[in-house]
Subunit: 380 residues, 4 copies
């Protein structure tokens, strides 16, 4: 079994999710390659040591630059705030390392474009962790679409609703809260949540031509954890936009962290000429499917429990009827990445794929300011 030495930067939520994926993937998937947890890296040695111990990393680093230069490291996994992705990824590419980067790829499109150039120049394998593509029900949706079951697409609608920042006393910035700090995150729900919706949408329904958006920041000032001062909030708390896809379909997208009762309600629905599909992250193991070609009186939305052996990835897990969860999407992504290394077909989304999402986000934020339709830049 070939080994692949991983150096992971960041020990937070995503650091855990990725570590778990590396540890599990070979127990369930038959692969020719096995990730080795070689080194974990974070600025604070106090924090990275227990993390490494808990997950079985063989060593720790406190300077990512040093990690990137280590000869025994073959793959750099970037789990740090958005404003650090570009610098780390560029250095890792120069050092000839493969790179798995957390989403969103970059702070904006131009930065993302430079990152794409860096990895492509270096010729290193690269991927962005848009993990929801590999929730089995979502992958299954892709299959159904690719089989032509939906026919011409008329509508796409997606939303990602949360409610965790309604409390105005919640501070911004620093560990666990950098997503509220525009300097670290670049944007609010647009880069954090809508980026997921856009990535899935492009994958399932093709490119987006133009968008028309609005954003809002409901809580205008919050205490900043790093400065200790009350500061203006720079991120978007909510964002909604209209869009037109290249295939002629119309779309609505919406995201907010001010929707009481929703923790992580990512949903999408696609209406085609012959069939429709609906999915919901709160019940991620189900796909709702309506097929107009069913006999008239017995037509109905089917609630497909995506847990059979013939459903994507599910043959690797348990038995029909038994759910897997959120974390498994990361395992699938690692499995596909490793398979891509073996068979020479890079797993998506590569940096280049993820750049397209970045361009949509740019157009969205631009439109929210201009108040009019904005075209989405094309990835060349």
């Amino acid at each position: 079994m070939k080994k692949l030495n991983v150096g992971l930067i960041g020990y937070g939520f995503m650091g855990r999710a990725h570590s778990n994926a590396y540890r599990k993937v070979n127990n369930f998937f038959d692969l020719e390659c096995q990730p080795v947890l070689k080194a974990a890296c974070a600025r604070s040695e106090d924090k990275v040591r227990p993390f490494a111990a808990k997950w079985g990393y063989e060593s720790v680093e406190t300077d990512w630059r040093k990690l990137v230069q280590r000869e025994d490291i073959e793959l750099i996994d970037i789990c740090t705030p958005n404003n650090t992705h570009a610098e780390i990824a560029t250095a890792a590419a120069k050092a000839g390392k493969m790179i798995l980067c957390e989403k969103p790829l970059s702070m904006d499109g131009p930065e993302g474009k430079r990152m794409v150039a860096a990895v492509e120049k270096a010729g290193v394998a690269n991927m962005v962790w848009y993990n929801y593509r590999r929730v089995p029900a979502v992958t299954f949706a892709k299959q159904l679409i690719d089989e032509g079951r939906l026919g011409r697409i008329y509508h796409y609608r997606a939303k990602f609703l949360q409610d965790w920042t309604i409390n105005p006393d919640l501070p911004q910035g620093g560990t666990g809260l950098w997503r509220l700090d525009v300097k670290a995150a670049g944007s609010g729900v647009t880069g954090d949540l809508l980026a997921h919706c856009i990535d899935t949408a492009i994958w399932l329904n093709g490119g987006i031509d133009k968008v028309n958006a609005m954003t809002e920041t409901f809580v205008k000032e919050r205490k900043h954890n790093l400065t200790g001062k009350v500061e203006k909030v720079g991120i978007d708390d909510a964002c909604a936009f209209l869009a037109r896809f290249g295939n002629g379909s119309l779309a609505t997208f919406e995201s907010t962290r001010y929707a009481r009762g929703h923790k992580a309600l990512y949903t999408f629905e696609i209406n085609g000429e012959h069939a429709s599909i609906f999915w919901d992250l709160h019940d991620l193991h189900r796909l709702q499917y309506f097929d107009h070609r069913d006999q008239g009186p017995v037509r109905g939305w089917r609630s497909i429990h995506v847990t059979d052996g013939e459903h994507p990835y599910m043959g690797k897990w348990w038995v029909p009827g038994l759910q897997i969860g959120y974390e498994h999407s990361f395992v699938h992504q690692v499995a596909d990445f490793l398979q891509g290394l073996t068979n020479g077909k890079p797993a998506s989304p590569t940096f280049r794929d993820a750049l397209e999402t970045q361009y949509v986000c740019d157009a969205v934020l631009k439109s929210a300011k201009s108040g009019k339709w904005e075209k989405v830049a094309k990835v060349k």
Copy 2:
């Protein structure tokens, strides 16, 4: 248009439901006959007068015997407590009136048998108001079964759950509460709620051979509204039973008025070799349907919104997507009854059909006492 003069006895919940049905049926159904609200009857003139005025009855009576003898009355509708059904129905039959009788038919099987004999001897049209057969989703279930879609049936399960008698301070007996008084009701949930479940079951799945039951009375004593005294409660608050159908399928039935959170949750599920069906009174306009012959990976329970023109009865109402409700099942029953008069095919359930349910109830109550399997008497 032929007229059919109705004399209705009882002004309660069912008196209203039936009156509404008579008034509406010709607005929606094309029939050769039209019910006329000729007379309403109740012991209390103070109560029957405003009822008659509200619903447009042309006259009132305070003695059902007199009503039954009136020459201008062609049909007697019995909406009185269970312990009065037999006497009224027998007298009405003798007077040559058609009879529509509220469910359950009788206090027990032998009484029911005499009622069947009376109407059949008199040769008068007769029917029992087991209205749930005519909820469109239930009628549609019957169609699917009759088309052979389910194949061999393995399982039937039904329940009817309520929670309105949990409060021990609720009295028994008298207006609005006679269902808690064993003398008026004959039994508790068995005759009131399970009778519905059994009627549907026999209609959908054929005869029941034997049963094994348990009953319970959770609140042993309640104040009686007629005597003013605290008296022993004679009804069953809850009843559950196992059953074996003639077609070899196994069944569980359960009913209670002590299931917090359920107002009138009548549900049934049928599992066949090829397909399964589920229905629920709390969402009575939907039928859940699973068909194993669907292509493997897209199999799922279909939530059929039974509101299309091609669904039973629905072509008479509004447009697809718009629900009808509980009351419409009574309109359908009147429509079918009137059509039966015209075409000579009596609408079911006749008294004879309803007697079968009575025999099952008898066996259930007997088994609850004997603690063993009891055979169900056959309707000859």
Copy 3:
């Protein structure tokens, strides 16, 4: 009991829904006034005669101008295509008749404004049939909001999805299909479906300041039933828009007749600081409610079965757990209208209330052309 003589124009879907409401309202509601079905009117005598017979109208007319002048008619009910509302309503107002007009009020805002002026000058009672306000679950939502349970509102989202015009062979124009003919309908889904969404939204969440919309006509040409020729389709098949309410909340609205699997899926969701509400026309008897003030671990969306006596209007119908349906919203509207006549508090939405919706529709259609935010005119 005071009588109110009704003259109804139009015998289609709405003619039936209103007739049913007039016939039923006094059976269930205690009112001081009773509608009398005095005359039904339509151009074709062949069609209006059987309609009148079926519903019990005492007479028929084939010229609405004549009906409007009849002295025995006190109320004119307009159930004709949108392009006839203004002329009929104006004439009826001049003749001193009360007017109940189907929605949308008018072909556009300016026309609607003239209609408001006409009825207000004449001093006649007037109302528009935005019936969904009186679905008990929707009325209950209004109560919860008025009680302040939601707190500051952040988001409103509504959609109305259908799928009945996907087939390109469906013709436009004429009986049953005038909604596809821009000359008769004024617009497509905007005036037909979004008007409902907007009416409810304004009622629940206050006025809308500005909108940003897109529309699409998927099938560009259809045979016209009146001319027999294939003609350009002038209506919008789909419309989506962003909006900002006066109270600072953000909204998305969407409607289409190209959403496979949805017959009449009108849904709205409101996210407030403390609580959220969701409703869905396909299960109109339920209200989903999430209250953040519930104790943390047992927080969850409550599926409220709006069938209890203490829920709006429901005390008039059956017993808890038993659904009513679509048609009952019209009964409630008549009941409230009649009560308004008695107590001097006109039932909403009056023509003036409905004009506000018209102005929003105008801004939506304008924005769809201009590609930018458009302000909504204020009703003065």
Copy 4:
């Protein structure tokens, strides 16, 4: 960190589920002890070698007797067919090993009793893998009950429905199919599926006094994989029973492998005086909860998404809104077992706890034969 050397017998579905749990538990839970995958054991070396390689077992054995005697093994995990549990467990106990045994504990009560005696005499830690207790929503249900939220319990109902053996061509016996072979399994759905339902029921609602059951074998003969001959099927394909709990509540239990459309639909519902609870394995991350003490009109079943940090076990995993799945129940069970070793409070269900379920199963099977109520033996 203390190490705990595990020897696992059996490499099937459960062998994988347990191995996964041992490997993951310390990544997510803070424990003083860490399982070490010391040896995997199975009769076939060809099968156990790749299993051991895949999961990282340090060694393999092909004779469980040898494994049980190995000095470096501290814990024996039994994942073999039911008819081998007793012999292995007894030998392991004699050898002083801790024992984790798959459910059901034994072939019947008397055998189970001997196993309890063996482990208690040896004084070794022991537990049975009734994993559903540790699905967070189920554990949460237990918390709500223990807090007294439900009040007096009236009803308990559970079912476990599958559909995987409907095809009569499915053989019995041997690898993957031993559950259809009465010699290996002892019984059919009773020991396999109802045992789970009974274990949860006893845990949540206390002891069961007596039962009244029926069983059925729909397919009477199947080819046997080990003999190659068509043989009589000895297991129960379906089993339903009525029960009475010690606390006075009534229950229905049902299980089958002939319910089309259900893969592993384990559900239970508890109706108490004040509140009710419903859970469903097909959406295992949700708990349905109805509390009558909520204010009247806003009462409704709450769909609790059991993914918050304050829900049982969930603080160890991801963030609110993100599901875990089936496999995590095993991780939780290992975590609790290890914690029990540390704090001296043995995690349940111990062999003794599991014996109670065995006695209920015995009474159920006896009643199915006798056709009458059978008392459940008490664990002394």
